[in-house]
Subunit: 151 residues, 2 copies
């Protein structure tokens, strides 16, 4: 082969290498699908299902309470998901993902059905944002979760 | 040069290309610095300073209100920053960034100083999260901003 051809090959290899790291085909839709699986896990398995989608170093920013740092600390506050009268539904409205496909976010609205003090079933509504990071072993986990009031 | 040496060069170029896209030296600190500049812009220039750090397609998730989509819609609600009695301070506590350095987030706590109905100055406190995306022209802009109560 000529030197010129080799140079073209070297350049092509460099560009392919750069490209390999920047592809994320339809990554946002994948995160929105993941968000629905996250909700289903919480519906099926309560707090343990919810926690299985959190990174070990996740932070939770609950409305009206202090920041919770780490999955263990967050876990202590999630027991309400194990009460069969409580149902938490959330629906992603949008999101985004990094070009290299390792960090992304989703946001949307939630409905929390539960019994009030008189035992009557009712719903409260709000919004949320979840930030996702791809873990070293390949799965996506939530690294930040936050909710507030109003839809 | 021998074919073997060329092959080594091709491989090295591929790896360098891949690496070029995954470097983000100290990106999270840079975002936390940006967050402080964002606050300063709002302190110095009110709503216009605040809005200058938002992407055109940003979403705002204000506590107690519906989602606001797009900088223009968000702008309609930011006039309170132009009242000289109002002061919004926020301090990043942590964050993260994608390996290719194009998407990141910061979160922390805020203090909002203002006058109550009786004209008395006081503060309310809360938490926030900001999601940042590097724009095509190279600057970072907030694509999602959310706040809630409790520190």
């Amino acid at each position: 082969m000529t030197t010129k051809l080799w140079l073209v090959l070297v350049l092509a290899a460099f560009l392919l290498g750069a490209l390999a790291n920047s592809q994320s085909p339809d990554g946002t839709s994948a995160l929105m699908k993941l968000e629905r699986e996250f909700m289903q896990a919480a519906a099926d398995h309560g707090s343990q299902g919810y926690l299985s989608y959190l990174a070990d170093d996740a932070v939770e920013l609950p409305n009206g309470h202090a920041v919770l740092t780490g999955k263990a600390e967050i876990g202590k506050t999630m027991g309400f998901l194990d009460n069969p009268d409580n149902h938490l539904f959330w629906t992603p409205a949008g999101g985004g993902i990094s070009s290299c496909g390792d960090l992304g976010y989703t946001y949307g609205s939630y409905e929390f059905r539960s019994r009030d003090r008189d035992g009557k079933l009712g719903s409260t509504y709000g919004k949320y944002a979840t930030i996702w990071r791809k873990q070293k072993e390949g799965s996506w986990k939530a690294v930040l979760d936050m909710g507030n009031a109003g839809q």
